[in-house]
Symmetry: C2
Subunit: 423 residues, 2 copies
């Protein structure tokens, strides 16, 4: 029965029942984690043959280059070819980095502050105010970068098609607005794919800031867990066609394709940006780990083979998402206290409780031994204006543990809702 339709006695009875369940769950001393988008052990084991593909000196040569030695700032050609094929851009637009796209993103913004970007009038460190557009709910680590550099974050509502472009187009008239985060495919946490219309509007933006930085984090570009690969447009070409070639930096990595801690990350940008960034990057690094780059090329081979591997990841991931969604459907749907998205890719289920329930729900979860992403984490400054959004990350625990964790989660959400309704 829908909680909101209950009278006080019904609420009290239900509260007593749910509280007893909660106490029982608490007494089990669980230690479960649905906090981060970490692949599970089955996924790691599945891809660990990557450790075997390059073990002899003769295997360490690529296009005539010995990858073991110093050199080749922007990465090996074979890796550039692979990522250019995956992202649909030109090889000359790819820079192959280390194990983390987060680091590449941070470094781009850090360089904007210390040196300025290609079209900057001065380094951002010399400006009084830097403002940044943050579609939310979004990725907490993106917002943490903005906060660390002291930016003024502006929350942009998310729609079913992506960021609310009316809002975006309003704010970019301010020359202090220097950039924007986007996770265009299977957005973190909602799992939305930006519509073609939204992407075209983004590519054609005319920001007042000459050095506006569109941070296109294509973290889940081939990360379907339900259904076939969904093609996506090449943002670099779209920006180029709209006269915005130098506005965008795209990021991707193999962190959720091969090994999360030992993958290969790339950024892609216009050739003019590449030339500018290489001049700055050559001061910071001789080259990232080309041995690991070649290891990835030998293991992943090409787009077709990589997509086939993603199907095997999907076979592990889908039952986990099914378990989460089934629990929500069964336990929460009838009660009228929350709504959620049903994604077909990415690493998260985004759930919105009735206003004011997220913090309390997650505090109760913690009490019962289930760690989730902190309430508010999906909003700038960690502050969800409605205290409502909860990011569920089903990938790490095995299905049996996940079912336990979801039992705890649903019980805590019910308890929080009942407490509020009774107050």
């Amino acid at each position: 029965m829908n909680y909101t339709a209950m009278d006080m006695q019904q609420l009290k009875d239900e509260h007593a029942r749910v509280l007893a369940q909660f106490e029982d769950l608490k007494s089990r001393g669980l230690k479960l984690n649905m906090a981060r988008g970490k692949p599970g052990k089955a996924q790691l084991d599945m891809v660990s043959d990557i450790l075997k593909v390059m073990v002899e000196p003769e295997q360490c040569v690529s296009d005539g280059l010995d990858v073991r030695n110093y050199g080749e700032l922007s990465g090996i050609s074979a890796a550039k070819r692979l990522f250019a094929e995956l992202l649909g851009c030109r090889e000359s637009q790819i820079f192959v980095g280390g194990n983390a796209s987060l680091t590449l993103m941070y470094d781009t913004i850090a360089k904007a502050y210390t040196h300025g970007l290609l079209r900057s009038e001065k380094p951002w460190a010399k400006l009084d105010t830097v403002k940044w557009l943050c579609p939310a709910p979004g990725y907490d680590r993106h917002f943490a970068i903005c906060q660390s550099f002291g930016m003024e974050m502006i929350t942009i509502p998310m729609t079913a098609d992506g960021p609310d472009m009316d809002e975006v187009e309003k704010y970019i008239k301010d020359p202090a607005v220097k950039g924007m985060w986007c996770v265009p495919k299977y957005s973190n946490p909602e799992g939305i794919i930006y519509s073609d219309a939204t992407i075209s509007r983004i590519a054609a933006m005319k920001p007042a800031a000459p050095d506006f930085l569109l941070m296109w984090d294509n973290a889940y570009c081939i990360h379907e867990f339900d259904g076939d690969f969904v093609p996506f447009p090449d943002i670099l070409s779209l920006c180029e066609k709209a006269g915005n070639a130098d506005m965008v930096f795209e990021y991707a990595s193999t962190s959720k394709i091969t090994l999360p801690g030992a993958g290969v990350a790339v950024f892609a940008c216009s050739e003019a940006n590449m030339e500018y960034m290489e001049k700055l990057l050559t001061i910071q690094v001789i080259s990232y780990d080309k041995t690991n780059q070649l290891r990835h090329v030998l293991y992943l081979k090409d787009k077709a083979n990589t997509l086939a591997l993603m199907k095997r990841h999907a076979a592990i991931m889908k039952p986990k998402f099914d378990a989460v969604l089934a629990a929500l459907e069964r336990e929460i749907a009838p009660l009228g206290i929350a709504q959620w998205k049903t994604p077909k890719g990415g690493y998260f289920v985004s759930l919105d409780t009735k206003e004011g329930l997220a913090k309390r729900t997650l505090a109760l979860c913690k009490e019962a031994g289930v760690v989730m992403t902190g309430a508010g984490a999906t909003f700038p400054y960690g502050k969800d204006p409605h205290d409502s959004n909860i990011r569920i990350a089903p990938s790490l625990p095995p299905v049996a543990e996940l079912e336990q964790a979801m039992e705890v989660f649903c019980t805590c959400l019910k308890l929080a809702a009942l407490e509020q309704l009774m107050a």
Copy 2:
């Protein structure tokens, strides 16, 4: 015969003879490289078994942690233990990074600019002037970092004991002087080991800047090629004892122990600095490649085993340095046109020509197909005030090629000297 004792006719005769040699060498169409401290193929092959030590999922667990997944910002404990033993500091003082100490050094300075260091009053980007002490001849990539951030570099003369500390102690009275580069063991390029007295004086400095940053690049800490391992003091303890615990960051890497492009780099600092830096670094990176960190632990094991490996590197390196020094001794020593150091470790031979010969010598080398580190590169802004210092990097070419390259080099140096004497 000493060139400076020759009369004009003797000089002309010698010039004709050497020019003919030069033309002969040029006609051979050589393509040889003594520009950078790159290990040679024999060294790479010798250590490539590192690619075989971790190929099964079961091998990817260290102290109970699956290194393949996300997490552990500061690196795996086993790698911290190994580097703490090598550097003689505490495990809690070690941060294990990616494949390049250069990147860790750059990032420390970048964070000083964007966020400030532990004891900074404000980020350096907010200061009008940042000055930096550069013992020279020194490492060109160090100076390039300073230049990239727009620092005012102050050249400190090198003595046989390390940087001229009278000069250092004079300059640090200026609060705008924010730091200093040091390569304390087998300095780049001279191969000098700083004396204990110099190191003590450095550790006990009392700079006016509260956030003075002593950049202790221990790049060649175990890199003897001639004779046994020479122990070195732990700069962190020395600074701590002198009340300067937070003044120093030490850097090291396995780039010249295992694979140059796929090694593991670390920084070491006080626990207070570590806590501060981790708060900043957690925004930039989830963790560096822990799989490669464990690969290194499994391959290098401990200090004793690592020193044994360095003996095997030495067996490859020493004949190369011998070839360089023998050529200089035979061809150049009698002429009175240059002096050089005879190092027992590191990657370079530093040679000082008579004033005004370095650029011309290297231009001639280039003409004859031998690429060397650019003249002036070992000084701030690439400007050697005496146009005299030349860095010879013997590690990359096999001995036979090296002998050819040195034949070219000696011929070019002679030619440059003769041209000058005849002018």
